[in-house]
Symmetry: C2
Subunit: 330 residues, 2 copies
Amino acid sequence: MAFLTNDKLVIVGAAGMIGSNMVQTALMMGLTSDICLYDVFSPEGVAEEMRQSGFGDVNIVATTDAAEAFTNAKYIISSGGAPRKAGMTREDLLKGNCEIAEGLGKDIKKYCPDVKHVVIIFNPADLTGLVTLLYSGLKPSQVTTLAGLDSTRLQSALAKHFGVMQSKVTGCATYGGHGEQMAVFGSQVKIDGKPLNDLISEGKLTHAQWEQMKTDVTKGGAKIIELRGRSSFQSPSYLSVEMIRSVMGGEAFRWPAGTYVKNDKYQSIMMAMDTTLDTNGCTYRMPVGTAEEMDKLDASYHHLCEMRDELVTLGIVPPVAEWSKLNPNL
Amino acid sequence: MAFLTNDKLVIVGAAGMIGSNMVQTALMMGLTSDICLYDVFSPEGVAEEMRQSGFGDVNIVATTDAAEAFTNAKYIISSGGAPRKAGMTREDLLKGNCEIAEGLGKDIKKYCPDVKHVVIIFNPADLTGLVTLLYSGLKPSQVTTLAGLDSTRLQSALAKHFGVMQSKVTGCATYGGHGEQMAVFGSQVKIDGKPLNDLISEGKLTHAQWEQMKTDVTKGGAKIIELRGRSSFQSPSYLSVEMIRSVMGGEAFRWPAGTYVKNDKYQSIMMAMDTTLDTNGCTYRMPVGTAEEMDKLDASYHHLCEMRDELVTLGIVPPVAEWSKLNPNL
C-alpha cells in the first residue's frame, strides 16, 4: 500500500466516537504507515477493530501514556475534549476544554516540538485551538481548527433548496468563529454557475428563506443532535482528517480552516479565514464579502475576543500582551 | 469524482452504529453516486452528516419507507437486525432477527428482484443470510454473509505474536459458521513466507499458544465488547463494504465469505467457504486443510444444521425439502 507519508500521526481522543472514526478515516485514506491512538480511556478496542479490518502495512499503536503518544509525533488531530451535550452551547464547554487544550499544548512542547501540524476540533475549537497554539510554542501556521463544517452545512442546504448536486454549489464559506456568532458569506456563492445573489433577486430563494438558512447553518450542530440523538461525529471526523491530509501533501482542502490571525484589523485570535492548507501549513487571506458580511465578521471577531478575554479572567491564559513570553511566535 | 458504479446501493440499518459507518465507508471508497439509507428509525441525521462531509456528486437519500428504499436497488448491505438485549436468550435473538431477515427477503422479492448482490451481516449471520436468500428468491451466488472478521482476527493475533506487519501473515482463514463453532484453519498460514506449522514445530508458537489463539479468535467479538464497552462496529462495517465493492467490480475481497452451500458433503446451509467475490457474485470451493481441520468444519456444519432445523421448528422457514417452492434457485 502506498502512503502519503511514513511520519507518525497521533489521534488524540481515539477511544471516542469522533476519534475512532478519525482513525478509520485516516487508514482508509492511506495517510501514513504509523498511526498512534491516544486517549485517557484505553483506545485498545479501537486499535483492535482497525487491525481486524485488515489494513495490512500499518503500525497501529494504542496508548494512554502521553509520552509514548507524542514522542516523535509529526501530525496530530485532537478531538480529545469533553463532549457537548443537548442544551449546552459551545461556550459552556469553554473552561473545561480550554484546560485540556493547555495540557495538550504543554505535551506538544515537551514531547514533540518538531511536530509539523496540529488540527484541533474539540469545542469551542476557536478557543481550544488558540490555547493549544499558545502553550505549544508552535508557529501560527502549524495549528488549525475545524471550521469547514459550517460551510458544508451551507452547501448542503443550498443544494437541497435548489435540487442540485452539492458539487454544483460553489463558493460556500463561513468565517470568523465556529460558534453561533459565525459570519455566513453568501456573496461568492454560485449555484450551477449562477450567482446566488441573482437567484435571490429573482425570488428563487426568498430573502426570508435565505435569512432562515443562514440561521440554520449556525445551529447545524444542534440540528444533528435533534436528528441523531447524539452530537455529530462522522462529519467533523471526516473533514478534520481531510485537513491533515492536505498538510501532508495530499488533496487540497476545500473549506475554510480556523487559523491564528494577526493583521491590521484582527489581532491575537483564532478564527476561520480564507485559508490554504499545504505542506507549508496554513496561510490565510482576508475574506472578500459585502459590507454587511464584513460587519458580521467584525461582530464574530469581537465575540471571540470576549471569549478569549474570559479565558484571561479565568486564569487559563495570561493577558495577550504577555503571550510572546509563552510563545515567541505569536 | 469517479465511481465504481452508478447503481443504487441501499444500506439497511443506516441509522445504527454499523450502518452509519457503512455509509461513510461506501462514500469514501467512491462506490456509487446513488446511495440510499434505510432504517426503521430515521437515518436522516446520518444522511445530513454525510452531506456535511462534502461528498460532492452523490445522491444521498434517507428513508424509513421500504418501497422507496428497495425500488431499483442493485446492491444491498444489511446490518438491520436487533441487538441482543439483557434477558434475551440466544433463541430469542435467533427468532427475532430471522423474522427480520424474512421481511428483508420478501421486500427484495417485491421491490427489487433484479438486485445484483446482497450482503448480510446481522447476527447470527449464517442464519439471517440463509433466511434472506430463501425468501428473496435470489440465486445462491447473490447473497453472502460477513465471515471475514474471524480471519482478520486470526491474522492480527499472529502478526502480534510474531511481531510482523499483518500483510506478512498470509493464508489466514476460518470456515463454517461465524459463531463459536467456526473452524479455524492454520495449515495454509505463512508468516513472512514461512509455514506456520514449521514455526509451531520449532516452538516459535507453542501448541498451547496456538490452541489458545484459535479459541480467542472464536471469541473475538466478546473481546471487543470487553475492550470498548460496546460491540464492534467499525470492522464489520468496513469488511462488509469491501465485500460489496468486490462484487461491484472493485478490488478483490481477500477473506472468506459466507455463501450458500450445496455439494456432496454439505447441503442447504450458509457458511464460510473458500470464496471468490466478483461481478458474477460469489463462487466457492471446498477449503483445503488437514483431516483435523476438515473434522472441525464438519462439526461447524452440523452445528449450523441444528440451528437451521430450529428455524423449521419455530416455523420461520419450511422444511428443507420444500425450499425450492419458495425459491426455485435452491
